[in-house]
Amino acid sequence: MSKLSNILLACTALIAVAGCAKKRPAVLPPAPVDNNAPVDPNAGMNNGNVGGAIVPGSDADFQRSVSSNTVNFGLDMYDIDPTARAILDSQAQWLAKFPNQRITIEGHADERGTREYNLALGDRRANATKNYLAAKGVSSSRMTTISYGKERPVAMGSDDQSWAANRRAVTVVLN
């Protein structure tokens, strides 16, 4: 009796799965393609480079105005060192000039941490950056953070120099 029940249950589940699978080909994603124009995680953001002219207050304007849009961190660290402070001070000055501009801070880690830990580590770095800017007068309501962990390296090597470059927080001006 229990055997029969088990079979019925198994059949029911299988009918459900296989039946739906048969109905679904229309919504299956496209087959993989060799994508030579990969997705830019910042796609859609206004780079301000309209017709070759940089619009004041845009991300492009931000990038040429500040000493860097990126601060770096030590291995498994998230403290804002003196070099990073100087960079963030210049960012805070620009943000003071454009008080309506909102930013997102992307936190990243190098490849030597595990995936999930690195998501948390990237979040730590983005937040440390955000907290420093807030202390310099940038309203928290203007700032969001996002962690990419080790998913979006800027340096592709597996060496100290590349890892140092990838341990970073990047400030991006929205709109």
Binding site: V17, A18, P29, P32, T114, E116
Partner: protein
């Protein structure tokens, strides 16, 4: 409209008629000699630091040679009653036995040292895999079906069984050149004299038949070659779309009967398919059978997706997505293809895992730079916070009975593994070796924790839930993210390469650390999550 029916094949009368009287004497429970038995590694083997553990795995004991009488009549009678095949498939829910070895602090030997002194076998796998013959399964009549012609299917089924058993590392299937065709009546009346001459110690025969209702019947028989006895048999009625499952079920029957371990071949893996340059990897959820067959993509790659896990009922997958640039956990319904956000209005939620009963999702949430482990109903609602230490607490995994959670935390200064009660109480550190420990995963058998060890490279290891018996199973540049097979004897993980061309691929390793192999995928792959045995 195809329907899936995979029921136990109940009646002996519908099996092929034996052409040889003598097989009557080989019925289950009839006078029998010793039974072939593959030894698998002792689950509570001493740590790798002990020089004695590896040989414990070595012996293949089989009928007539090494004397190990195993009374199998109970199991065989159970088979005759018609339930043994599925009873064997049930995962063992037994609570974790306490691990005996206390020498956990000893550093584990590198994986490469473990095979010393043992006879090397041709598969590069376990020290003494059992030779087994798996001839092509004949068909009663060649019939064209939606899955293909039955004679072709018979050959493919034997290949599925062959590959499953070979990949386990515990068997050496005879090469095609050593096999000979088996006629339909011969399925139940094996030519033992021939097979004895091949060196095979076990013989798997089967047949396939197209039924009038469009379904397929597959019979599967296991014989002890030296004692010329049938050990077990089972049969399946499957829809043509499920024909491969019959092969996996047959392999599971053989594997469980000869090793005493739980089944695992009839199962699936969900993982992240990767392609594209290192700085902008395209990542898609994908699902496939455990052997790589029936592969299909579930998401289109427009958003980064990470860390999928099956729901216990295998009808949904919980995972993390960067949809709309808001990294968060989602539940994807396999049947409908729809997904839903689990925790709304959160900055960053990740590392999701279902509880064993499927009612809750364990996950990590970062707030203000601090990450803790939370639990939320799988239907959504208000999360309950389980950890509150300053630092990163993540990577939670339930014990099979749902009473405990293993997770990682850097509260001590670096990543280490901790165990707590399911309500967050009684948090205890269990890892104390050199280096850092991450991504703990509780074995479905409850007796082991798999993890990633960081120190130099990344390596996959195991330890007991109390932290003893640590053993590293792999030794490469970057092995990460272990996931257990349904029987708790094999671990999938992903291996990343160095540098700009460094890609990730799926790999598996068994508890001995010896049987390591790459899992074929159409593109690159990471974050494998092995699902339960299919119902």
């Amino acid at each position: 409209m195809t329907r899936s029916i995979l029921g136990f094949f109940p009646s002996r009368q519908t099996l092929p008629v034996a052409g040889d009287r003598s097989t009557q004497g080989n019925h289950p429970g009839a006078g029998r000699g010793p039974i072939p038995k593959v030894d698998v590694m002792m689950r509570n083997a001493p740590s790798a630091a002990s020089p004695n553990w590896a040989p414990a795995f070595a012996g293949v004991v089989l009928g007539g040679r090494k004397a190990r009488a195993v009374l199998a009549s109970v199991g065989l009678l159970a088979f005759v009653s018609g339930s043994a095949a599925y009873a064997q498939d049930a995962p063992a829910p037994a609570p974790a036995p306490q691990q005996a070895p206390a020498d956990s602090a000893a550093p584990a030997a590198p994986a490469g040292d473990q095979s010393g002194g043992l006879v090397v076998d041709v598969t590069g796998g376990i020290s003494a895999p059992m030779p087994i013959a798996i001839p092509v399964m004949p068909t009663a009549a060649v019939v064209s079906t939606p899955a293909g012609s039955t004679d072709v299917l018979g050959r493919q089924l034997s290949e599925i069984v062959t590959n499953d058993l070979r990949n386990s590392g515990l068997f050496t299937p005879l090469s095609p050149g050593q096999l000979r065709p088996v006629s339909f009546p011969e399925v139940t009346a094996p030519g033992f004299d021939y097979w004895g001459g091949t060196g095979a110690q076990a013989l798997v025969q089967g047949f396939i038949r197209a039924n009038g209702d469009g379904n397929l019947t597959v019979g599967c028989y296991l014989y002890d070659v030296s004692s010329k006895a049938e050990l077990t048999r089972t049969g399946f009625v499957v829809s043509p779309s499920d024909w491969r499952r019959a092969g996996h079920k047959c392999a599971d029957m053989v594997y469980t009967r000869l090793t005493g371990e739980g089944a695992y071949f009839d199962s699936r893996v969900v993982y992240v398919s990767e392609t594209g340059p290192k700085g902008r990897r395209i990542k898609r959820l994908a699902i496939m059978d455990q052997d790589g067959a029936n592969h299909r993509f579930l998401t289109n790659g427009q958003s980064i997706v990470l860390t999928p896990r099956f729901a216990p009922n295998q009808q949904s997958i919980v995972y993390m997505s960067y949809l709309n640039n808001r990294p968060a956990i989602y539940v994807y319904d396999i049947g409908s293809g729809k997904q839903r956000l689990v925790v709304a209005n959160a900055n960053l939620t990740f590392a999701p895992r279902f509880s064993p009963d499927g009612r809750n999702i364990l996950f990590s949430m970062a707030q203000g730079g601090n990450t803790d482990v939370y639990r939320v109903s799988s239907q959504g609602g208000t999360p309950q916070r389980l950890t509150n230490s300053p630092g990163i607490d993540t990577g939670g995994s339930y014990s099979p009975d749902g009473s405990k959670i293993v997770f990682e935390s850097d509260r001590s200064g670096g990543q280490q593994i901790y165990v707590m009660n399911a309500d967050g109480s009684n948090q205890q550190r269990i890892s104390f070796g050199g280096g850092r420990y991450a991504t703990p995963v509780w074995s479905p058998r409850g007796d082991l924790i798999a993890f990633t060890k960081l120190g130099g490279g990344f390596r996959i290891g195991i330890m007991s839930p109390s932290g003893g018996g640590e053993k590293l199973l792999t030794n490469d540049w970057q092995d990460e993210g272990p996931s257990w097979s349904p029987n708790g004897r094999v671990i999938n993980f992903y291996r990343s390469g160095r540098g700009s061309g460094g890609k990730a691929d799926l790999w598996s390793v068994d508890l001995t650390g010896v049987n390591e192999r790459k899992i074929p995928t159409p593109l690159d792959g990471s974050d494998p999550a092995w699902g339960p045995l299919r119902p």
